[in-house]
């Protein structure tokens, strides 16, 4: 049975300086509120894992929390580059995190291997790709049956994974719907999993028998944060705030503008503000 906690308690109890942590969400259900809470609590020396480290990792890197990044696409989806991540990698501001870069196929396989309890992921990939030359964790393995050379990388096993989901029931089971991305694998690959949800319902008697449900005993803590994925979205609850992604490009382009935005919208904000941010994005019912 997971603990039903406030977001600040859930983060404080489960994240520590120096942890390897995944705040996952493949465009959808990105746990922005949990990441902002981690920023407020000021963690340091984190190894941040994520396939698509968009705005939240731009923010965490810009605040100097990252010792290392493990990722496969460091962009603002559909908009362009991550300007804080760029400043960190190109100019070392505020620090220069180590980077371990992969492809999506590699990261997806590595999470799945982590969830499967395997030490490595094996797949057909990286053929002719220069990443294999700059990332020593990209190696190869020979199939013992066919002799085919395949790519091998270590599995991903975060100390803690944070995800956002639509709902939990009173027992603490969690339902993920829509673009389920890598949510299930990221939870099952981690030692501890913390989930923020839009709401808690009595039971899941009305869900499809094949729905993506994470049983309560796979989760350490649940916090209710309506709007907690904003500016990402929660399928069935509110739409993606594309305008915010476009606006971020300008905010993140300048160090002072970035710091000012973080002060106002993260450091001096609370999880409750997320509900306001999605008010106009909820589907008319």
């Amino acid at each position: 049975m997971p603990a039903f906690l406030s977001l600040s308690e859930a983060v404080r109890d489960n994240l520590h300086d120096g942890d390897t942590v995944a705040f996952e969400g493949f465009t959808h259900l990105i746990p922005h509120a949990a990441a902002h809470e981690a920023i407020r609590q000021g963690f340091k020396d984190l190894t941040l894992v994520r396939m698509t480290p968009d705005l939240v990792y731009d923010q965490m890197v810009g605040m100097g929390m990252a010792k290392k990044l493990i990722f496969s696409y460091a962009g603002n989806p559909g908009v362009g580059l991550l300007r804080r991540v760029r400043d960190a990698i190109e100019n070392g501001w505020p620090n220069r995190p180590e980077i371990e870069e992969h492809s999506h196929a590699a990261m997806a396989n590595a999470y799945e291997a982590g969830a499967s309890g395997l030490p490595l992921a094996v797949f057909r990939g990286y053929k002719g790709a220069d990443l294999a030359k700059v990332n020593p964790n990209i190696r190869s393995i020979t199939c013992p049956f066919t002799g085919e050379e395949l790519a091998a990388i270590p599995s991903v096993r975060p100390d803690v994974t944070f995800v956002h989901a639509q709902k939990a029931n009173k027992a603490g089971d969690v339902l993920v719907e829509g673009i389920i991305g890598i949510q299930k694998e990221a939870v099952l690959a981690a030692r501890r999993a913390v989930v923020t949800v839009e709401e808690i319902v009595d039971d899941f008697s009305d869900v499809h028998p094949n729905a993506c449900v994470l049983p309560h005993w796979t989760i350490k803590a649940i916090a209710v944060v309506p709007g907690g994925a904003h500016p990402s979205y929660a399928h069935g609850y509110y739409d993606r705030d594309n305008a915010s992604y476009l606006a971020w490009d300008k905010i993140a382009a300048d160090r002072d503008a970035f710091r000012a935005w973080m002060e106002e919208n993260v450091l001096n904000a609370t999880p409750e503000t997320f509900a306001t941010r999605v008010a106009n994005l909820r589907k008319a019912s």
């Binding site: 057909r124 002719g128 990443l131 673009i179 399928h235 993606r240």
Partner: protein
């Protein structure tokens, strides 16, 4: 807009759309490829299967997604699978006939860089990286590339091999054990290019209406090869242009909405 009644960008998208058919199962990159794939679906190829790497299979969005995981992709899809399943069963499993990619830098053999400009360890510009592209480039049946021409984009030598095309040409793919065709088509705002059957170097086979050989050369970082018989790309039809412009207008309206309550 030029006096032709369409822009080079519109010509590029329409020409790219025409390369797709009803039977295709297409892995769609964001940006120009996404526009082309949806114009194809809304004109001559209504049954085309469009797949975005977020796991949406057979999606039919009414506006162009800003990201590869916008909600409408899922709402209109035949099915939505997890990301590991997408890359393992569908891409690696060989179910996808065409991968449609864009590029920051491209060389004459269809090798793509979207990782860094400059040195990897100390980049001049850190780009987003490969995402799904390295394996899209090797696992899809063939690869179409679409991008605007510029000397910064079409370069003699790319700074980083994010996605392998034809390497240094010839049978480089086979030598690496890659069994798929790789880049078979490049559509720019000025021309249509296809690889030479032997050397695999991209060769201009068709100029868009009103475009000269000099214009193609001036916006390309390598010495351009032209086919012996050079065709003229048929200009966009009224239906194609209307479909594209309506799609762009719907998209602009949809992405302009703001989140904050008033």
């Amino acid at each position: 807009m030029s006096d032709l009644g369409f822009t080079p960008d519109e010509m590029m998208t329409v020409a790219a759309a025409r390369a797709l058919g009803n039977e295709d199962v297409c892995f769609v990159g964001i940006g120009a490829p996404s526009a082309a794939c949806n114009v194809a679906r809304l004109t001559h190829a209504p049954d085309i299967t469009l797949i975005y790497e977020s796991g949406t299979i057979g999606t039919k969005p009414s506006v162009l997604p800003l990201s590869i995981g916008d909600g409408e992709l899922c709402e209109t899809a035949t099915t939505t699978v997890s990301v590991p399943e997408m890359f393992r069963y569908w891409l690696q499993g060989g179910r996808i006939t065409i991968g449609f990619l864009g590029a920051a830098q491209l060389d004459r053999f269809g090798n793509i860089n979207t990782t860094v400009i400059g040195d990897y360890e100390h980049p001049k510009t850190r780009l987003p990286g490969g995402g799904g592209a390295p394996e899209i480039a090797s696992s899809c049946g063939e690869i179409f590339i679409t991008m605007k021409q510029s000397k910064r984009g079409l370069v003699e030598k790319i700074d980083f091999f994010t996605s392998f095309g034809h390497g240094t040409g010839g049978d480089d793919r086979e030598k690496l054990g890659i069994t798929t065709k790789g880049p078979t088509l490049l559509i720019t705002d000025l021309a249509i290019w296809k690889p030479d059957p032997v050397t695999k170097e991209f060769t201009v086979v068709s100029l868009h209406k009103g475009v000269t050989r000099d214009q193609v050369q001036e916006t390309c970082g390598w010495t351009v090869k032209f086919a012996d018989t050079l065709e003229e790309t048929p200009e966009p039809t009224e239906e194609e242009l209307k479909t594209l412009r309506d799609l762009k207008a719907r998209t602009a309206a949809a992405h302009g909405q703001t989140g904050e309550a008033a």
